[in-house]
Structures are given as structure tokens and as C-alpha cells.
Amino acid sequence: MIIYIAVITIVTNLCLATLVFLRNRRHPVNILVVIFILLLTLWTVANTCSLLPVDAAQRLFWVRAVMFVTTPIPLVFFLIAYFFPNKPEKVNRVLLVFLTAVTACVLLLTPTSLMFSSYSFVGGKPSLTPGPAAALYGLNFSMLSLAAFLSLVSKYRNSMGRQKAQVFFVVLGLILTVALGFSTNFLAVVVWNNLSMVALGPSFSLILVIFLTYAIVKHRLLDIKFVIVRSFGYLFFMSTVALLYIGGLFLLGEFFTEQQRDTVDVVYGVIVSVFAALTFQPLRRFIEKLTEKVFFRNAYDARKLLHELAHIASTNIVLQELISLFLKKLQQEMKFSSLTLVIPGSQNAVFSTDKKNLTREAEKRFYLLSSDFSSVRKILLFSEVPESDGKEMARKYGLMAALDLRVGEKLMGTLFLGEKSSGDDFTLEDLSVLEILCPQLSIAVKNALSYDEISTFNQKLEQEVARATRKLQKTNATLRQLDRLKDEFVTIASHELRTPLTAIKSYLWLSLQGSSTLSNEVRQHLEIAYASSERLIHLVKNMLMISRIEGNHFGLKLKSFNVIHLISQVKEELQVKADERKIRFIFNPTTKKVNIIADQEKIREVLQNIIGNALKFTPVNGKVSVEVSHMSLIVGIKVIDSGPGINKKDQQKLFQKFSRIEHSYQKMVNSGTGLGLYISQQIIQLHSGSIQVTSSKKSGTSFSIQLPVN
């Protein structure tokens, strides 16, 4: 029986040691755990040998071997506590050397009689006589264990999440193993001289093994691979099934007959096989569920969670809101310590549920990390990644996995999953939930980014339009102001020009009228001066009018009047000029009355100008006639002269400002200001009418005006 327990303990211990050693050969805790387990195994061997029915001398040798093997155990225990879970920043070398020296001293004393002097049988019961070194051994053991215990307890208090769960199981396992082993195999022997429980000692190491395994499987202790964790679950399931079948076979064998055991065994074997095949699937599911419950807490309803997340993804379009709601929900339900989403295409590239720790520096690091792992598809578990800076960083920020968000080939972002706050590992369900929601989130992020882009663009556009409008309004106001100033200037300037011109014109007139003593020559000069002053006054008047027409300050005073009457008046005024040059001035209207609605004075100016020009450019003894044609809505006025005509090229420029100067600096014989036709055209156009010219060298020139009746 003792040997069976020993063999099971040794095999289990060696398996665990190999696993831990293979996982990370360089990490101090891994190495120490391996040494610790090996020492426990050696102790089991020595302890078992000491209990074999051999003579007292041999037994004393094995007892001393036990003492030798167990002496370093508290030191290793302390070192594990010292280096767990990671190497401290400052290693106290002096302390470590001192403790090692003490252990070495005790180690040297173990084979001597100072530890145990004799092994004897008192009344059929084995008895050991402890020496003074036994006390030193006990002191070393208990002090180091206490120190290790205290260190682990403080580490347990300061750790969080997964680490806290890990530390808890390691502490519990170590303490139970060390305390129980020390009590049964040292205290009982030395203090009460009771060796009856010595055989149990090594089996206590199984407690540590169980706790370590539990921590490895459930809380990823010592970075054991996810696959191994899964295999362990499967192994557990397989062995359970095997046990059940063996038990079933054994029970059936016991119940039924013993005589036909051989044939019956075969029949039962077949029955059991069929039963196994039939029950495999349901049993598997049941046991899987059971293992999930034991090892992983299944706290959320996956279907409900997916439904809610899909709802969030489909009802939120603003990136910030979408992500904050999505991450919050996911974190709440799946209980992650943190969730961080890196979206390179957005303004705030990094979003996290853990806002306190999301410093600028961390943001930058996350950003870099996302580019490190962006080539990975689906889910990346950091535990499965080879050691690298990225992995180191993931460890620092307590990250377990990364998910890529892709739409087609385009990478939208990376989601980093923190540890589960329960310390649990991912379940298969977790993984499938994450795989389902990944594309959902990707599409939602893509939509939100597009929306963000459009709304930013819209905002910019609005701002731009508002800015342009403001600028335009300002420019408009400035132009209005300028226009007003120009108008004012022209008004004042024309007034200022007219005043001295009035004086000149009037005094010249007086001089020409009043005195008859002037010589013909002087009179002629004064007449030229008088005509020039009149022309200048006319020019000023025209300039003022153009300024008003062009500045839209030219108001029309519309009223109904008889246009035939108006033409007659103008003819009367200009008759003198016609007579001077012996021109036949003809106006024979067919009707006496044609009423139009227009500005009478402005139309008068136009007629004075057009008819005046005709008289001016028609040679002596020529002919000028005015004709009126009246249709229902339009009145046409035609002024025809028998002048020299205007060539085609000049006709086009006739209605331009200072048209004469345009094509030649040579002045015509009868000079005007060159503004009259331009002003006439503007006035007619203000009345919604039109004016044209036709001319030929044979028949002279004719101007046609069309004016609407109303």
C-alpha cells in the first residue's frame, strides 16, 4: 500500500515537473518549482525506503537520507515565494547567500549523529533519538517557511485578477504540503517520537500538485499553453469515462456468475462497448458541461449578448458612442478587466474601457502593438505568441488576446482583450462569441468612420460657406459704401464744376449781349468761349447722369403722356437749328395722339439728343424727318437724316461711352461729348425699350427707337 502511494506520487510529480520545465526553462519560478517537485519526489523515495522492513542501521541511513533531501525544501519554498510571480527588481544577494549558507550547514549535519543518533524498536514500535542539530533543522524549516508564507500572503494581497487567483492556489498548495509534511514527518517524530504517520508525509505533496494543476488549468499559471489546458480537460473526461466503464464492468462481473467468467467477460465487454458507443456523445456533453462549470464560470447568455451587441452595432452611427457602448456591454457581460480598441482611421485612435490607465504613452504603445499584430487573422492569444517586445507589453497591460477587425481585406482596427476579472481563461464559447461579433463590430466601425468623415466634411463645408458668405457680405458692404462715396463725389464734383462754369457762361453772355463796342474779332472769340463753356456744362451734366445710371440711382418718373405732342415740342425747340442750316425738318404724324407711360423728361432728352445729332451731321440743304408708327403695344420712333452715313465698323461703337475716341483721336467737325448716344440707349433700356441704327452712304442714317406703350 505504501509503495502504491509512493509510486502514484512519484509519477504524478515527475509529470508535472516535466510540464513546468518544458514550458519555460529560463524563468526562475519554473526552475524552482521543478527543483521543489524533484526534492519532494526524492523525499518520497527516501521516506518509503525508511519504512521498508529492513534492519535498524539501514533504517537510520534512510532516515538521514530523508533529512538530507528535505533540508533544502524550505529554502526552495522561500525562493519560490521570493521570485513568484516574477523576479523582483532588486535581488537581495546578501540575504540569499546567508540563507543558502544556513541550509548548507544543516545539510552537512544531517548524516551525522548530531541529527539522529540511533534508530531502535521500543516495545515493537520504531523509535528515533534526535540530536541537537534536529532543533536547528526544525528552526531553519519553520523560519524559512514562515518567511515564505508571509511573503506570499503580501503578494497575494497586492496582486489582482488572474495573478491573485494564481497566487492563492500556489500559496494554499505550498502551505498545506509543507505544513502537513513537516507536522507528520518531523514534529510528530521528534517531539512525540511517533513514526506511525511518516508514511503519509510524501502523499501530501499531491495536494500541492493538485493545486498547482488547478491554477495552471484555470488561471494559466506559468504560461502553460492553451492547447494543454484543453487537453487536460479532455484527459479528465477520458479518464472519467474509463473509470465508469471499468467500474461498470467490475460491478457486472461481481453480480453475475463466477463460473463462466471468460465467456461472460467477452459478452459483457461487447455490451459495455455498445453502451459506451451509445452514451459517448451525451456523456461527453454532460461531462464537458461539468468541466466548464468546475474550471470555467459560464456567467453570461451568449445568444442574448450577441443579440444585444448586434443591436448596439446597428443603432449607433457616431463612432465614439458606438465604441463606448459596445465595449461597455462586452466588458460587463464577459467580465474583462479591460478592453481597448485601436482604430487607426479615426481621430482618437485608441478607445479603452480602462480610461484611467490610458495615458498618452499607453495609447502610443497600443497603437504600435496594433501594427505588430495586425497581420494576424481572427483571434490571437498572447500566450501562444513567441516571446517578443509586443508580448512583454501585452503582459504589462494584462492583455490576453487581440482580435483583428476587418472588412474584406481592409483592416479597420484591433481589439485588445484584457484578462477576465474572475481570472478564468477563455472558454470555447467565449472564443466563438468573439469570432461572431468581430465582423459585426468591423462593419459598424466602418460605417461609423464613413459617417464621421461625411459629417466632418459637411461641417467643414458649412463653415466654409458661412465664411465665404461673411466675406461676401463684408465686401458687398464695402462696395456699397464705395459706391455711395463715388456717387457723392460725382454729385459734389459736378456741383463744384458747374458753379464757376455758370459764372463764365453768364458773364460771356452778358458781354456778348450788352455791348456793341466789341470788334467783330473779339465778339467771335467770345462766342467760341461761350460755346465751349456750354459744352463743358453739358459734359458735366452727362457725366453725372452716367454715374447715376451705372450706380442704379437713376429713378424714372413714370406717367402717361402724348408722345406725338412731345415730339412736336422738341421739333419746335430745334427748329431754329434746322433753319440755321437750311435743313428740311419734317414731322407729319398720321395720328394726333399716342399715349405712352414713361418718364417724359428723360424721353425728351433722348429725342433732343437723337434729333439734335441728325441735324448736326446733316449737311446744309439736307433733310431730317421723324416718323412715328404705333402698334398695339409698341410705339416706334424713327429719325432719318440725309447725312453722309456711318460705316459698319463705327456703327457698332456708336452706343459706347466716348465712342468717337475709341477708333480715332481725330475729331469730327461737329464735336459732341460722345456720351449722348450711350445715355440715350441706357434711358431707352431702362424703359424696357430698344434703339438701333441703320446707315448707308446713299440714304444716310436712321435711328429707330421702340418703346412699350405701358
Binding site: 454729385t491 455758370t502 458773364y507 453772355w509
Partner: protein
């Protein structure tokens, strides 16, 4: 022909011209060079006709007309605006303030000017 005429005109050359023309036509004429004096004279004396410029120092023609209206003088003389400011808005405002006629200085010849005055005084 014993009518009394006041000319309010700041341009000496023109003031002299109008005084000369009117005296020659047989009127009694007084002339002043700014709006303030013109207003005082109208209030103090009685005139048959006032020839009023618009752009004047101290008080312009329109202001003078407004002051006159406020004082509610019983018998106002005939007022003719005599200006070179060719602006419809001014004529409209002046008409509202009781002006009888407008003359554009640069457009009227001396004989036309006298004819106009005589017409208003007859």
C-alpha cells in the same frame, strides 16, 4: 416794379451777377453769403421773393427752409431754389418745405432768369 428780393448765394461771382441782373431789371435787391444771415434777414425783413442756394456755409438751404417752417412766420416770401445741385431728392424735399420753383444755375441764361423772376412776382 417795387418788389424786394433777397439773394442767398455764397459764390461772390454769382452773387454779384444776380444782383447786377436784378437791379438792372429794376428790383430792390439784397444779397447775403451764408444761410445763417439769410435766415435772420428773412425773419427780420419782409421780401417778396427769396432766391436760395442749397450748398451754403453755416446753414444750408434745406436747413434754412426747415427753420423757417418751425417759426411759423405769417407771410412768407416766394422762395425759388437757385442751385447747381442737380438732384431730384433735394428738389422733392425742398418742395415739401414750401419752395415754389427750382432753377439750375448752369442751365439758365441771364435773360431766362429775369423772365422767371418776373413771372413769379407778377
Amino acid at each position: 416794379m417795387d418788389s424786394k428780393i433777397l439773394i442767398i448765394e455764397d459764390e461772390p461771382a454769382l452773387l454779384e451777377l444776380y444782383i447786377f441782373l436784378l437791379k438792372k431789371a429794376g428790383f430792390r435787391v439784397e444779397g447775403v453769403g451764408n444761410g445763417m444771415l439769410g435766415l435772420k434777414k428773412i425773419i427780420k425783413n419782409t421780401y417778396d421773393l427769396v432766391l436760395l442756394d442749397v450748398m451754403l456755409p453755416q446753414k444750408d438751404g434745406l436747413e434754412l427752409l426747415a427753420s423757417l417752417r418751425k417759426r411759423k412766420i405769417k407771410k412768407l416770401p416766394i422762395i425759388i431754389l437757385l442751385t447747381n445741385l442737380d438732384q431730384e431728392s433735394i428738389f422733392e424735399k425742398a418742395a415739401q418745405l414750401g419752395v415754389s420753383d427750382f432753377l439750375i444755375k448752369s442751365d439758365v441764361l441771364p435773360d431766362e432768369f429775369i423772365v422767371k423772376v418776373q413771372k413769379w412776382l407778377s
